[in-house]
Symmetry: D4
Subunit: 168 residues, 8 copies
């Protein structure tokens, strides 16, 4: 297996159905990634080790998904200067508002690049990682541009069908 | 100076005007305490050391105040089995809702005893620490009971004045 | 039955599926506890009696779960100097935001140690009680430390499986 | 002084500038009232006594203002079958959302008649008390009707001036 | 049929499953009531007529349930000096927060006695009406007191069972 | 097919079950409309073209539905001086609060006429378009008035049934 | 004075500093308007008369600003088929969230075209009215287009200065 | 002047006091940047041009700050595959919650890397840009690491003073 360029971490295995959306996108773009389950609170040592060693292992971007008092992305960001992308998980009671605020409202000095709550966020975290990697990888950047085009074409096709359906 | 039984930590010196309310209450109850400024994000190593060594230094309770994506209490709680009390700071934009949710919505396994946003919370954090210490210290528990009585008497006095004022 | 060290109270029997998580954790740690249904609003006298007599009965910590305008923890806290832990119940309409704010925003003088909304909160309330009891009970404190280790190991095992699954 | 028909209670003397709006309205309607400072949390016994004895003292309506985890109205309501009107205080951090939810979201069985946050709420609490008393007091009910007319006329006068000003 | 003392109005027939809880409570207390569907927005004339004529028809209290931009209670309150109780409906998207704020945040001059969102609120609206009617009806007031006792006894019975279950 | 007077646009085909409520209302009023799927983010060029050409194609009103960071209505409004009506979609996590704020809180200079979240909003968007078109089309304006009457009559019929049901 | 084409109504004279922004914009566009103070709750009859007679007086659009439980726009909208634009006022405690939800969350059948909270909303309400009037008034529509251009030019000028300032 | 690697854009010159924090950080790190005022709504063409041409001009990262219905970052992100960082502005009424949700809740396909509301967010946006640029610039990455150390040392110094002050 190739050395991972992106690490996708989540705080609990219950976050997997959401976070594997990120892994899928990275796979589609053939960006080698590692998927980890590490808790800022239950395995702080492992979280620290991951963050501290990521850069020397050749990792470029860390994606971290967590819910509730979602400290994972912030804790990792505090221990590496690699860009860290935070994905707020939807939660049962507060629907992810807690996760979002715990992830995005970082104090000055330690940024977390926060994306949307849930699956859309997980996919976008991966795309953002690809955009960052694309800055130094022309081929990847080209793939991104065709991905955007395909995406636009998919919308246009739906638009066509929709116009047709309602013009009758 | 006596060995501290309680440590009052905050994430930034801008939290001091709020958190010193906790220190004052502890002083009133003659509970030796140490006041620290340590950031979960900017000095993660120091935060970790504090939490890991607290118990062996004779500390019984940790009080942690932080704002925004307030990870400090949770990060300390993940590295000690001493009770950790979290005080959410009021914030400029979201008025402390972010701090509150980041402090209280901890995942199962690592509790943070959260109190109210701001100064009332800081005072109550200290009183909660005194209540916990009072479980094994009869004298302290008695002081608490007289404090409660004084507090009630202060309300009753205000009530008297108020009744008088409005009965005219 | 042994004299309870912890009382788990809830405002309604509909809270039982959540609050029995607290009872289970206490049982696992072999901490004798009593489980009660008492409403701050519908049985105020019984609530008052419980709080006033708890200390003399040897109780050390009170855990109170309630929803909506969740006054139970606060009302108990106002009538005892034992530490009171509040568990906000998830509610149908406002999803527990009402319960959380009614439990945590206590005025200075009467703290309630508030934990997360719902089941995670109920479990953590029990663990917090164990942490408090552990301050004067070495054996209990040791159990807590192994519990933390088991918890960490469970995460590490899941991490292993996850890494494996995605490395294929 | 005449026996009070309405009691205006508040949880703290800092609530007085808001709650005296209620007293003023009652005075304008010549409804005898008593103004009290009593805390659900700091003087629970006095709060209980007030609620339990109100009816036998001839009181008809209780108005209770409190902030944060605002339990006062609910605690009084649980100990009397007189109608209890709750006024949520504006709070520094959460702007009264906490007070509102803690006052209005009462469990079935114990209603609190909740009005708006702050001064508008305090005035309306008094007017609501007058409306309730007016059900058995024709003179009072007539006064209410003229008050409404005056209020409407004041708006109409402002409307006139406004139209004039902008028609130039 | 007896002349109604209470009118229970709702803005839409979809509110009926919630609002009939109010009608049931009133029936249990043998308070004659009328149940109406009238929209502040879709049938403003009928809403106005209802409010304007209620007093002369012998009605004492109006209960109004509505959702979303819930204007019904406020619109009725603006056209009668009878006490108007507002029940905020739970809504699909904002879960009743919209209904609550639209009902409770009335401007000074026109109070609406607001109760909790949804079914608990509907029941409490009826109980509040009974409390108001009970001020001039000793028999009704006695029924209320026994209802409270039954309610307390029901909680005590559940408490007994609960203690038993967990003491094993 | 007649030239459309109203365009109903949505950001994604998942919004169709909601937005076709708008199309249905327009059809009922025989207002020719076109239904489009265009994303402010995924097909910005197409969105721009639609907005820029709408006026010259004879379109009078644009209705745009989008969810989350709902930029569609605002983006269209920035590129035409036709009135643009925004329909916030209900979202999975934040229940449409995000869509609402992203649609309504436009900066001064570029208004979006925002309606309620979800289906009620979609229907009302169409009715609002009809109200606007009715300003220069007497026949349409008459239809609107009869629609209002039918709507009122439907409520009155339900009211009749309800009164009957509860009078037994 | 010319017959008004737009009426700007507000619920209280305290809303005037905000709502006169709407009047100013209309004056700039030379659209004759009338400015009124009318309360849905304190002068319901006058509000009804205004709405019912607006169309026959030649009015084309109604702009209504109100705060808190902001029913004014909805109440007017229920009594006319002219387009009604609602401006939510910022409020002291809940900062306009109450006004926004009370204005925008209208039930299906009676739309209110809601704009942003406060001054930006008041300005945009007037611009939206101009956009609607512009549909049948080429001259007005042209003015709008130049206004947009001026607005864009003002931004471009600021952009120029800003680039310059930071390029040094 | 050197060709900019980062563009800092804002929607209005009133955002400048916040956004120049980003420019200052970039200057400290000697990263050439351009500061622009461009509105997604008032100058959509200029916004589009900026985004479309950024990559070919050698820009690597775009930072966009906007408030209210904050579409700027999303609109730019939809027209470039460069990473776009969004800074939500604090707003007068909703305190930046509107800006935050409008910036972060992007649909899948077009990510915006969102940071905290206000000044802390603006600083962190710049640091995040530096972290991204540091992936291909060893010198910059080293500077970042010393910046982190300085930041930690500043906290440690404050901690020292604080401990001293309270140990007396």
């Amino acid at each position: 297996m190739k050395k991972p360029k992106v690490i996708v971490v989540m705080g609990s295995d219950s976050d997997l159905p959401v976070m594997e959306e990120a892994a899928k996108v990275l796979k589609d773009f053939k960006v080698p990634c590692q998927v980890r389950i590490l808790s800022a609170h239950r395995t702080p040592k492992e979280a620290k080790d991951l963050a501290e060693n990521a850069e020397s292992r050749g990792v470029k971007v860390v994606i971290a998904g967590a819910g509730g008092a979602a400290h994972l992305a912030g804790v990792l960001a505090s221990q590496t200067t690699l860009p860290v992308i935070g994905v707020p998980m939807e939660t049962k009671s507060l629907k992810g508002l807690d996760s979002l605020l715990s992830t995005v409202q970082m104090p000055s000095g330690i940024p977390v690049a926060t994306v949307a709550i849930g699956k859309a966020g997980a996919k976008n975290a991966a795309l953002l990682a690809v955009q960052i990697l694309g800055l130094q990888d022309k081929a990847l950047s080209s793939k991104l541009k065709s991905h955007r085009k395909k995406q636009a074409n998919a919308v246009k096709l739906k638009d066509k069908k929709c116009r047709l359906k309602f013009s009758k």
